[in-house]
Amino acid sequence: MTKKIKLKISQRLTKKKTRRNGHGAKHCRFCGSDEQKSFLDYKNSSYLRAFLTERGKILPARISGCCARHQRAIGTEIKKSRTMALMPFTAQYF
């Protein structure tokens, strides 16, 4: 009789597997896409709003999924947009 061998896999690895399951690796939306890059502009504040939290903070790269270079670009464009009052520094005063 053959004995079933149960392989022991660490819990952390299984969790990691399930997390990536179906979604694939995160990738930067600006890398290799000229169309998306053209949207990245301080005048296009409605598009840049997707990179803000509800409170008006800039989303971290961990969540926006951008590479370091484009995350920096997003930061500078948002800051330019803020000085021109196109975007808020913080959520609306209420």
Binding site: S38, F39, D41, Y42, K43, N44, S45, S46, Y47, R49, E54, K80, R82, T83, M84, A85, L86, M87, P88, F89, A91, Q92, Y93, F94
Partner: protein, 160 residues
């Protein structure tokens, strides 16, 4: 070697046509003095600002694009123009260097003139800027107020 720049200006909402003309004229004069050419001078329209600037809730944006040869003193000239000549109505301005090969098309948010009905409406503003969280919290408070009012009215009826 020509360099292409753009300047976005934020002016007071009560800007008159004379002041607009003066701004455009001054701009043109400086660019021509620097042996450059103005590509465009656009009025975006009136906007509700993300935060009050010089106690103004609204503002009018102007975008100018121009090409000047390298090594001119135009940036300093523009600085002094914004500080002295047009400082009564230009509140903020930003100048950026453009890529001469990139197309001139760009996207901008809709002005109040292009999207009527949103002016001054807090609910629409919150919805538009994806801040429904605030909307629901303010709505959550409201029924309690109404209940109190109804109770007060009921007690009033009982007394009668």
């Amino acid at each position: 070697m020509l360099r292409r720049y753009e300047t976005l200006m934020l002016t007071v909402p009560e800007i008159t046509q004379d002041e607009t003309k003066k701004l455009e004229k001054e701009f043109d004069r400086l660019v021509v003095d620097a042996k450059g050419t103005t590509l465009s001078f656009e009025r975006w329209g009136k906007y509700h600002l993300a935060y009050p600037v010089q106690k103004n809730e609204y503002g009018v944006y102007f975008l100018a694009r121009y090409e000047v040869p390298e090594g001119t003193t135009l940036p300093e000239e523009l600085k002094s123009m914004f500080a002295i000549k047009v400082n009564t109505f230009v509140m903020r301005q930003v100048t950026t260097l453009l890529d001469p090969k990139a197309p001139l098309a760009y996207q901008r948010p809709k002005s109040l003139e292009e999207s009527p009905g949103t002016r001054g409406d807090v609910k629409d503003f919150l919805k538009e800027h994806k801040m429904e969280g605030l909307l629901s919290s303010s709505e959550g408070r409201r029924p309690r107020m109404e209940e109190n009012v109804e109770e007060g009215m009921d007690s009033g009826h009982d007394n009668n």
